[in-house]
């Protein structure tokens, strides 16, 4: 069982069971190109296994968030979007949001420059506010090419 996805162990350790609905939700998140809403996930899950309920999707997401496997975002749409967290030890990624069409681009080509900078800032915050920093998120807002017109 060497080729289980990274989150497999985390789920097991927690005592949670890897049930079919959970596998389905995880698979949908894994193959998603964009950030999905709970309903998006429900619709896809329902296609794969019609007995799955929306409630279970919500509960599964809640569990995965608590385990640090999924991250929840809200962008002022009145509904949340969900994304699989990056593999630990990976580079992390940031977000680029188009303010007009609400498109979100994830980018992960983090430069060394960027990594060094972030660790300096985290250091500074730790000293100044006595916070133990665990994570960070950077959002850039702008207008994409399509929305600016050709």
């Amino acid at each position: 069982m060497k080729d289980q996805p990274w989150w497999y162990g985390r789920l097991k350790e927690s005592g949670a069971r890897l049930t079919e609905p959970r596998e389905i939700v995880l698979e949908i998140l894994r193959s998603a190109r964009e950030h999905l809403t709970a309903t998006d996930i429900y619709i896809q899950a329902h296609r794969m296994k019609p007995s799955i309920g929306l409630t279970t999707v919500y509960r599964t997401l809640e569990l995965l968030i608590k385990l640090g496997i999924v991250q929840k975002f809200e962008l002022g749409e009145g509904k949340a979007r969900f994304e699989l967290v990056d593999k630990p030890g990976g580079e992390g990624h940031h977000h680029l949001v188009c303010l007009k069409c609400r498109k979100i681009i994830d980018y992960s080509d983090i430069s060394n420059d960027e990594k060094e900078f972030l660790s300096r800032v985290e250091d500074r915050l730790k000293k100044k506010y006595d916070f133990k920093i665990l994570d960070h998120l950077m959002w850039f807002y702008g207008v994409c090419r399509e929305c600016r017109g050709s």
Copy 2:
């Protein structure tokens, strides 16, 4: 009228009227130490002027957001929080969130280091994704001293 707050002109230019409910909402936001929800604002506003309705609070916030006077955040609580935008020409600020108690610290001691870094990143994103970057937001997540125990 030299000592009007910075947003006064922006409101006027837009053609919107500076009505009493709007003044009250702005005053509440100005004096808020933390990020308030619409209901928080409504409760305070209601104390000052009981005739004010929740709907008006929402509509006022919507207007102020459109004018760039107020910024809306969502942190996965299922409700939005609102904050007065920094005075134009100010430094901007970032956020430090305690994952346990959900406390949010705004910090604005942005270093030159940081400013230079951000402009480099924005440049890179512009070239790579053809996005015109207008704004950014940095969130740091961690655990505050109190929540770590003394």
